[in-house]
């Protein structure tokens, strides 16, 4: 199993000669990898929906996030993929699991929504998905046949401190406020 994962992930980085680090666009291998990864995403996402135990939901979310990260690698967005793994899988999700553990009285406690809601939600979501797929199928995207060149961290970094400086700084401010706010909310009552 470990071998399989190793190979899949390593292949996802692409061959050393490829400057983008991505699988060669349009190749059969890319298609195979995409279907494997997309299958992982879909299965994990459905797992999140279906699981009733909150920790299992979190684990499914973890696999979904990891699959999405691999999908970023496929999309030649290595940096985003790695960040997704660090921040989302390694940070945000741990936070969620932490929250689960702090707030669950027993591993087996569950709250279930009324059956009617379940049915309605299923209908609505499946309907939305189908209509979205139809929409996507009908859409004719402009100039999307050829994938553009892969990522470059330097470009992203430069864009962050030039063109996107204001949102970048604002994100920093937001994070700081969140830190303060979270610390305030979670503080010990006196």
């Amino acid at each position: 199993m470990s071998l399989l994962v190793l190979l899949t992930a390593s292949s996802a980085f692409g061959a050393p000669s490829d400057a983008t680090g991505a699988a060669a666009p349009g190749s059969v291998l890319e298609a195979v990898l995409f279907y494997i990864v997309a299958g992982g995403v879909v299965v994990s996402a459905l797992g999140v929906c279906i699981a009733q135990n909150i920790v299992r939901m979190a684990v499914w979310l973890f696999t979904a996030l990891a699959s999405v990260a691999v999908m970023y690698f496929l999309l030649a967005a290595n940096f985003i993929g790695a960040i997704q793994l660090i921040v989302y899988a390694g940070g945000t999700l741990i936070l969620l699991v932490f929250g689960v553990m702090l707030t669950s009285k027993s591993p087996w406690i569950r709250f279930e929504a009324p059956k009617l809601e379940l049915v309605a939600a299923t209908v609505v979501c499946v309907g939305l998905f189908l209509s979205l797929c139809t929409l996507l199928g009908r859409a004719a995207w402009e100039s999307v046949d050829e994938a553009t060149a892969g990522t470059s961290i330097a470009t992203i970094g430069r864009a962050l401190i030039t063109e996107y400086l204001v949102p970048f700084e604002m994100a920093g401010v937001v994070l700081m406020i969140v830190m303060v706010g979270a610390a305030h909310m979670a503080r010990q009552e006196k």
Partner: protein, 525 residues
Amino acid sequence: MSQFAVPWREKPEPSHGFVSSFIVALAKGIYAIATPIVTRFPGSILLSAVVASCFLVWAHALLFSYVDTAVLERAAEVGAANPNAFGYFSPSTWGLPPSVIGTLLAGDAAVEGQSPGLLSYLLWPVQFGFTRDMIAFGAIFAWFNIVPVYVIWWERKVAGRIQSRLGPMRVGGWHGWAQSPADGIKLVLKEDFIPDAADSILFRAAPYFAIIPSALAFVALPFGVTYIFREVDVALVFILAMLGIEVMSVILGGWASNNKWSVYGGMREACQMVAYEIPMGMALLVPVVCVGSLSLKYIGEVQADGWFSWLAFRNPFAFVAFVTYFIASLASCKRAPFDLPEAESELVAGFLTEYSGFRWALFFFAEYAAMFVVGGLATIMFLGGWNSPIPSDWGAGLGESIWAKGLKGILFSGPIWFILKCVFFLFLQLWVRWTLPRIRLDQVLYACVQVLLPLTMVLLFGTTLWVWASESGNATWDVIASIVSKVLGIVGLAFGFGFVAIAGYGFYHRRRLVGNLVIDPLPGS
């Protein structure tokens, strides 16, 4: 003996299946053959193992570079490349037939119509990336297994020395060299036990969440310029991500065990890891700022000019960041003094309480592999990676022949150097573990949030200013910076020599430290 025997139940004779019996028989056989030899020639075997691995590495380098230069480049020159062989597994995607290879090896420009030699058949698979990947995968997989097994043994020896005893001495004769493999066999053969109240699926899954990321970290970890399984432009972030994901296994294992101690262990790990990832990442950003790349290969390459070019000695901030990173990495591997998740004296065994057998072994494999990975990161980011302390341009006189490349690969750079430095870091981790007491959780978090975090912020800011000043091209500043670098290098040298001196002293007087202990044979043997 008899008063402790349980009177009302007969202990059944253990019965093994075929596989177990086979493994045991194999182990016994190897043990029987190897023990007398190893006991008789321990020094020679150790030495020859080192020499052999050097040779292996050297041969590997030689072979690949030979194929690249003598075959593939020439094939490309004559236009013999076949780019569509597999479509993906480049760079070696020429897919040349052995006959062509033989011609190329013979040095004849007329490619066709030559009889193939034996060497051409031998070299034929090596041209394919897939083959190389398989070789590299085998090497990494072997290394991934050897490291935990023998580091555990080494740790027990080191612990013994530090506590004025000998550590494992029995199994295998010479210094209990077979202790860890024997333990491993024992663990593999043990009953696969899952508590009734546990969430069995997650309980089973948790060890894989530990072992897979730590194995994946090796994918991007460069052992040398060409010894990288996959070169990733964000290798550093990727490895950090892999190290960060490991925490998931601890939390899941702790939670799924449905055991109070385990949950405590998991929660502690979550706190500690999420907190320590930040100073660790920021400390690693210091050399990144110095170099300007996240690619570990590039970062290793810029440190090729000997001891003083190593990033730890580039500027004072990097020097401090080195220490900071080392401390944070201890916490990230949950090594003592930060081994709170499995604090034996408080939590039985923390998140490992309910684990046994193979799953338990997986956790340990993951932990020791992670130790190696963080040591490797420290090596690459601060201590010159695979480069030797000798500046590589001193070897310019050797020329560019294949043999010279091989020699350079051993003398000036190469996996040997990388592994040596990693082993040094592993030793540091062991040393620290058996020297310092475990600290409390609040102290752990205090150290992170109130000490390391501000410190790394200052370091990052300072090094940014330093790099900015260096890039301004001020001649005076360059002189100052080089003086500072030299001073730091000399300080590092002093530390290094001090370490070597102390270790040598300890080694020389190892008998005296132990005292006049007499090793008696086991009662039963």
